[in-house]
Amino acid sequence: MNYDVAVIGAGVTGGLTAAALARYRLGVCIVEAGADVALGATKANSAIVHGGYDPVPETLKAKLNVKGAAMMADLCRRLDVHYKNNGSMVVAFDEEQLEHVKMLYERGKTNGVPEISVITGDEARRLEPALSKNVVGALLCKSSGIVCPYDLTIAAVGNAMDNGTDLVCNFRVTSISDDGEFYTLRSEGGDEIKAKYIVNAAGLGSDEVARLYGDDYHLVAKKGEYMLLDKSEGGLVSRTIFQTPTKAGKGILVTPTVDGNLLVGPTSEKTERDDKTTTLEGLDTIKAKASLSVDGINYRAVITSFAGLRSSFEESEDFVLEISKHSPRAVNAIGIDSPGLSSSPAIAEYIVNLLKDAGLGLEENPEYVGTRISCKHFRTLSDAEKNEMIKNDPSYGRVICRCETVTEGEILSAIRQNPKATTTDGIKRRTRAGMGRCQAGFCTPFVTELIAKELGIAENQVTKTGGGSRLLLGKRK
Amino acid sequence: MNIGEKKEMICINCPIGCVVTAEKTADGFIVTGNTCPRGEKYAISELTHPTRTLTTTVRVANREGAYLPVKTSAPISKEKLFDAMKALSTVTVNAPVEQGDVVLPAVCGESDIIATGSIK
């Protein structure tokens, strides 16, 4: 199949880029190494839409963060993704940190961040009663928010696919050749995809992909560990609480998630590219540091811990968003670490413009549909609307995941709608089945059965997240 | 066991789990530590002919994906547990099945395998 554009990587950058390209009359293919979308840095990060006071003025990070954050609410409304403008605080524990907070305020003003102010410790505690008494002041940013990064990516890829974009998973690009008109992307397995333009949004693998067409970048993997607490704890703070960055690091944040849990983390540790392990030390560090800013975090209510990898440059701080120096129809999106999620809608737009600069013709697609309905839509309905839906499709009346109240109808919809879920983790990220307090103890057998039935495979062929991650190892004798 | 030799064991008859001691004598065993007569029986059986109840499931041929829970109607020799599992691996039943129905008579020449559940 010959495409106009191949987007390499189905993370938030690639996904939103594909969704932005879907407006135009183009043949687009998303090429993903993993078994599903949103498996890299997108899967495990702080899930924050930052205000934009942190990046150094005039950098791409500064510009795109402020712009992306402003676009986020609208984009999420269009894609039926839950976004919450909950606001944030950067808290200071002493005068020196307070100076830094004031510097961030000035920076925010320069960057054009709306609704920021510096407040006293008492004012901060009035807004967030769980804040430690040691907080002497804070930067309050009302314009920041929270969003689920994989939810956003799944919705964006789904929307692109609904408009004709192809998604090819399990395709790790190992070579790229260029005949002047078409790039040929080859996978490990020898499969080929041809495209006139490529967007390299391969996250932590983007430097390796860039080397395939002659660009030289070197990324390092940084691991961040997190702990997620039960929904019972989600109300401890209503805003995202950052600590003031110091020489020792960026500090540990405490935030509600858009789904109502409490998230604490991350650590930041240079590591190997495939190391997503959580560690005893990491989890202990989170506990000790988070408790500095917020009192009463109930670690007995931790329901899971996880680690995510981000890709950073060691030398430079900024995103690389450019047309390749060696390959004129390739666009690089490299080193998209924080605030990558916040910037993502603006990054996508920026990439589309780079493609245009590289010669891609952009003709509006009159059939373009800019909205998508999530498989989780059911739970947002009124009782009367739910009953209407159950009457038409009784599977919406059967609860499969009791902790998150996820129905069979929602799970089936996740398997049937773009991008189709084929694994239990895929179901989990699309519907939240298995994401609650029992962590899939009760629903795994039911979800496995539904996937097997829908895909027409044996239950013991169902995987957790593709590849060799089989859940069951055969029938009993 | 030699005469005068003692063995300590935990009775498995009920959740109390008494620690019972059996001493070999010329004409049998002296059992101490048990809180009920079943403890004595257990200790002697454990030293002479240990038995266990086997519970497992068998496939229901005419019900897609269904399994029927079954058990031995009385304890069988401990060393025959795996043989019994093997014998049962090829056994299937056809619904309807009532609790108590014999699924396989005299497994390994010992007690019957009976249904512990019902399938309509």
Binding site: L228, S232, K276, T277, T278, L280, L283, V302, I303, T304, S305, F306, D383, N387, K391, P394, S395, G397, R398, V399, T405, R437, C438, Q439, A440, G441, T444, P445, E459, N460, T463, T465, G467, S469, L471, L472, L473, G474, K475, R476 | M9, I10, I12, N13, C14, P15, G17, R52, T53, L54, T55, T56, T57, G65, Y67, P69, K71, Q99, T116, G117
Partner: protein
């Protein structure tokens, strides 16, 4: 809106026993609401034997025990609905309760109930709650999930198995998987004592030469896609991992049997206070929660060792609910409230309080201790007054204990009742 005198949330052993008892105590208009496909609860997958010795004087398997109660429910024609999820419970101003539920037939609907019996059971502690470090591959299951896969679905979740936690379900699954041809390499227990019954150590581990390592835990999970192994480490007296005393064990499956947690989200949603130790509601001797007309029993109240005790407690809750309804949805006249305080080695008691009437009945106070202790005495007192001093050869956290207090003794109590372990 459907209307009933008593709504029972959960059709497992607790819910069924509560229903039967409420019926036998004179209230017929009952509704059991069950989320699974049939009555029986978790017993449906507990195909092993060992149930019913107290209740029926014979050893039954889980399905057999459940069927006994199911028969009683059917004989009495007590109404029940299955495949129905209760979403919320709310007390109205008139004191009655609105139960909101959902199923495929009726959609979202409400039930107006005079009394509610909470019998939702419990769930297993997961890998995430245990905070086991390492990777997140397939092949990490709670013992109960593995049990469902094997016993209900006939699927093997793994072949080479390490089990963390010596709770009874873990021990039972060690035997079950061994009989099915799996290689259970070791059972690790964080504590210096087993969490399961001795009989299960004998017949599930010793019978099959499966080693039990006390004071050991899994300190890391290895494997990118499927579990490839675990690091097993010894722990010190503060339960901290000793890194030098660690060993890598190859396996494809890690089963977790590390305790059960009452499922009280509905209870919390109803605004009922929970006991920090049990994770269940706080109740009086009738198993009444802090909310009028709401009763709690079985593993949703506190985790029991034996289903027999669940049934017993549920019968008490069912009877209490029936008496409440028969009195026109009114509580008995209480003259005093006494708190029951767990102290001196006792972790918790159920009930947590006693509401004393003019003529109080005898009560049973169940309790659990925090550590294994031998040759001790249980002391129950009220101020200076000793109500009971009872010898115990051995007490252990894994075994629920109880003491009986006579009604006439309660009449004399005018302060907190203390339950403690003394030498």
């Amino acid at each position: 809106m459907k209307k009933c005198d008593i709504a029972i949330i959960g059709g497992g052993p607790a819910g069924m026993a509560a229903a039967v008892s409420a019926y036998d105590n004179g209230v017929k208009n009952i509704l059991i609401i069950e989320r699974d496909e049939g009555l029986g609860g978790i017993l449906r997958q507990c195909i092993h034997n060992g149930f019913g010795l107290h209740r029926f004087g014979e050893e039954l398997t889980g399905p057999e025990y459940a069927d006994r109660y199911k028969k009683m429910v059917l004989e009495r024609e007590i109404p029940y609905i299955v495949k129905t999820m209760v979403l919320g419970i709310e007390q109205g101003e008139n004191g009655r309760h609105t139960v909101t539920a959902m199923n495929s037939e009726s959609g979202v609907f409400t039930i107006d109930a005079g009394a509610v019996v909470l019998a939702m059971g419990c769930r297993e502690r997961s890998r995430g709650q245990l905070n086991i470090p390492g990777e997140r591959p397939a092949g990490v299951y709670t013992a109960g999930t593995a049990q469902r896969f094997i016993n209900i679905k006939g699927e093997m979740p793994g072949k080479n198995v390490v089990i963390l936690g010596s709770g009874d379900i873990g021990l039972i699954m060690a035997r079950r998987m061994t009989l099915e041809g799996a290689n259970v390499k070791v059972v690790c227990e964080l504590m210096p004592y087993s969490g399961g019954l001795n009989r299960n150590i004998v017949q599930c581990l010793n019978d099959f030469d499966i080693p039990l390592r006390l004071s050991h835990t899994v300190s890391k999970i290895h494997g990118k896609e499927r579990v490839e192994g675990v690091t097993v480490s010894e722990v010190d007296e503060h339960l901290r991992v000793i890194p030098e005393k660690s060993e890598y064990i190859e396996c494809d499956t890690l089963l977790l049997s590390c305790g059960l947690l009452p499922e009280n989200e509905l209870t919390k949603g109803a605004g009922i206070e929970l006991d920090r130790v049990t994770g269940g509601a706080t109740v009086n001797q009738n198993r009444r929660t802090e909310q009028t007309g709401v009763y709690s029993c079985g593993n949703v109240l506190h985790v029991h060792d034996l289903v027999d005790y669940v049934s017993e407690e549920a019968e008490l809750a069912g009877k209490s609910a029936a008496e409440f309804v028969k009195a026109g949805c009114k509580e008995p006249e209480y003259v005093r409230r006494l708190a029951v305080i767990a102290t001196g080695g006792v972790r918790y008691t159920v009930p947590q309080r006693v509401d004393v009437t003019e003529n109080p009945d005898d009560i049973k106070i169940y309790f659990r201790v925090g550590a294994v202790m031998e040759n001790v005495r249980v002391r129950v007192s009220c101020g200076e007054k000793e109500l009971l001093l009872q010898k115990k050869r051995k007490v252990a956290p894994g075994e629920m204990e109880f003491v009986r207090i006579k009604g006439e003794q309660l009449t004399e109590c005018d302060g907190d009742i203390t339950v403690e372990i003394v030498k």
